[in-house]
């Protein structure tokens, strides 16, 4: 079964959608892939979704239930310490988790990441395949 680290934006997107409308949630529940995360990514998810902008978009109880589900039904890794150069430090958390979990997919909505050909190639050499969520769900 494939493993995947899901970036913050896709986690937030999932928290905004009812389970029956989220293909990512459904694929995870059906065990089509193994969700890999890290405590740092979970902390970041909680911190971002606690901000007023997101509290207007996401139900706190749903957010909490998703965090509980991730703690119970995802694998949690210690992020890698050695990372390839990345233009944006905000991507470090997700890249560090993916390198720790390789071979795996890194599912991202972030153009800065998936459009960075050098970084994508470096990660591919490290057995981390950078994909967008639609592409990922289609290959499952």
């Amino acid at each position: 079964m494939p493993s995947a680290v899901i970036d913050l934006t896709e986690m937030v997107r999932m928290a905004m959608q009812r389970p029956e409308h989220s293909r990512l949630f459904q694929a995870w529940e059906k065990q089509a892939f193994i969700w890999i995360t890290s405590e740092s990514l979970l902390d970041e998810f909680i911190e971002v979704t606690d901000r007023p902008k997101f509290r207007r978009l996401i139900r706190p109880l749903v957010r909490d239930a998703i965090v509980e589900a991730l703690r119970a039904r995802a694998c949690i890794v210690e992020p890698a310490l050695e990372l390839p150069h990345c233009h944006d430090p905000k991507d470090d958390n997700v890249i560090a988790a993916a390198i720790a979990a390789r071979p795996c997919y890194l599912v991202t909505a972030d153009r800065d990441l998936y459009d960075d050909a050098d970084l994508v190639a470096t990660l591919r050499d490290l057995e981390v395949c950078v994909v967008q969520v639609g592409e990922f769900l289609d290959v499952l």
Binding site: L8, T9, V12, R13, M16, Q17, R18, P19, F25, W28, E29, Q31, I34, I36, E39, S40, E44, E47, V48, R51, K53, F54, R55, R56, L57, I58, R59, P60, L61, V62, D64, A65, I66, E68, A69, A72, R73, C75, I76, V77, E78, P79, L81, P89, K90, D92, A96, A101, A109, D110, R111
Partner: protein
Amino acid sequence: MTIVTTTLTTYRGVIEKDGIVRLRQSPPLPIGTEVLVVAAQPLPSLEEQRHRLAALSPEEWRKPFDAVRVAWDTSEPAPDEDALPSDGELVELVHKVQQEGA
């Protein structure tokens, strides 16, 4: 009487050889800052975690997912939840919030 207040902030890191603490991200702290280390037990290996999840019965596996559905069915709607941002808007919003928090 002098009251000294202390601000505690958490940073993640690992203990390396000879007790050297290596933080995962460079903190905005001057060299020589005193730290107090609270150690966490190492996580089980990825293989162990995968086996633990694979060993769950279908009913057990579904419980946290059902809890998410229950949370949807029993909670108050968020004020703007019907105005879902587009993919591009959401990426931008997440980046903005991350920058505000940095």
